[in-house]
Amino acid sequence: MAGVSYVKASRVYPGNPPVRAVDQLDLEISDGEFLVLVGPSGSGKSTALRMLAGLEDVDEGAIHIGGTDVTHTPPKGRDIAMVFQSYALYPHMTVGENMGFALKLRRVPKETIKAKVAEAAKMLDLTPYLDRKPKALSGGQRQRVAMGRAIVREPAVFLMDEPLSNLDAKLRVETRANIAALQARLGTTTIYVTHDQVEAQTMGHRVAVLKDGLLQQCDTPRNLYEQPANAFVAGFIGSPAMNLKTVALTSEGAVLDGLTVPLPRSVVAGHDAKTITFGVRPESLRLAGGDEAGMKLTVDLVEELGADAYVYGSVDIGGTSERFIVRTDGRTPPSIGSTVTVTLRDDNEVHLFHPETGARLETTKAAPTA
């Protein structure tokens, strides 16, 4: 077992201009940690993982595993195991042979291999299938074989490249919990790549958000949710997504239709632009009662999830129609086509970002001054 560190590691694909798939990535992953790399397609998360695996070159910077510089070490010398999105099982070998292959290559005695494979198979409920070929297994079983192949080796680091994306929704949720539990039990450092922010938030000790090859933020799931470092992270983490709008800024605060949100004086004073990017999560909004002031929301769609309902609607802000999502009580959702008044649950539950750079303007929840 070992920690992993990326030291200004970059992967640059030649071209005109060159494409920086991973740009100066700095990440410290401690021993035993479960780190999730998350980002949209093309964000460089898989490339970052493959650099660690030794399947992609590191063009600049370095990568260390357990304190050893492995930047130019071939994959076999890195003591890592990887679970692929497509599983990449060896079709001509049985499940048992697949799982024991790495040990066989290291000339581990046959009995030891057998024992370790049997142990891993038991852990993953694969014992009845050890003599089958991969093609005779279901998708979920294949996924577990891929996991077993990694476990049997007892590597220093597990790498997982979207291992759940080929499973159906129910199995994915189930396997998600199993992988997290397995990782906790084995205590092996794990780097997990996914494009699914729910997976990231539920599995990782820490989550690193990437976009265009650049690390946006790396923090615990809770901190990412509560203190997103920029507008991108704010919009990416959370489902449904945060309402992010760039609105006019006056001395009273941010102006949203009939609602003026008071902002901390420190933010207003230090900010010289006329506008501000204002973010509020659906659960921080509520339907206003009686004659309370608020935004007039025309309801386009209501998603009833049982306990809660998400109301999708549009609000006219400064002449343009902006979409908003509001979480309401599931028992009394407004009807489609109606107009409701929406206000904030708490003036503190807003996120403010620079309208151009997207950087967070407020790092602590200061008390409103207006």
């Binding site: 695996a53 030794g54 399947l55 071939p74 994959p75 076999k76 890592i80 195991a81 990887m82 692929f84 999105q85 497509s86 599983y87 990449a88 099982l89 060896y90 079709p91 001509h92 292959f101 790495a102 290559l105 290291r106 070929k133 991969p134 093609k135 005779a136 297994l137 998708g139 294949r142 192949r149 080796r153 080929n166």
Partner: protein, 306 residues
Amino acid sequence: MDVTSLQTSGRTGAPAGRRPAPPRPGHRGRRSPAASVGLHTALVVASLIAVFPVFWVLVTSFKPDSRAIEASPSLVNGSSLDNYARILAGEKGDFLAWFGNSLLIAGLTTVLAVMLAASTGYAVSRFTFPGGRGLLFFFLVVQMFPFAVLIVPLYNLLLSLGLQGSAGGLVLVYCTTAVPFCTYMLKGYFDGIPREIDEAGRMDGLSPFGVFWRLMLPLARPGLAVTGFYAFITAWGEVAFASAFLSAADESKTLAVGLQVFVQQNRTEWGHLAAASILVAIPAAVVFYLVQRFLVSGLAAGSVKG
């Protein structure tokens, strides 16, 4: 023979496992009785046309030379195993030596061509290297020269290499046709094997060559079988190069060259020729039998989601 075998192996060899599913009996696959009769009639006629020449060679092989060609042909006319006995006894030339030569030359060609083509095909499929794309194009261009044009330059080349008249020289000549074609086919085959399998192998501790040897070759077995079959047939039935590049001594001939002793200036020993042809066809049939299950199987199924 050469042309047909090329077409057969080319068609069946193309990524096995991706063949269309057989039409399922059911509401959509149902044919009208008239269509059924028509279809089967056409298939039966086509099969008869394909099988008859071989069948007639077999019939002829038992007849004495004098009765092989007659105004009113019959299936049996003084038929016996005499033709076979005389050929195997070496009365018409050293048949067993020819047989041995052919086996040796075709066998060496197969092994060498498949080994070279597999490694080249894998390299072209997986790695980028200078000239990688040009190489494939070059392979195609090489295939476009008619054999006849090549005989003289190849003769000179073999002469200067000191290989003229030797079996090894002929093997090299056959490889010039077999290797490019086999490389093309195997490249296609390797392209069909997911790259993640290579990567999983690398992660499990294989060297790049180990990946090729322990994962790719076993997975490409159907492709190897098909290309091996092609290489074998290329060398086994070839006449022009064999008669030009082997020494004229009877014991160094291949079967295809040796068969010419039955065709003389004023008469052809049809019975003997037919019997010898049947004997020649046996090894080719055996090779085909050995590889036929690979011609249709898809081994890569089940490796990834599917």
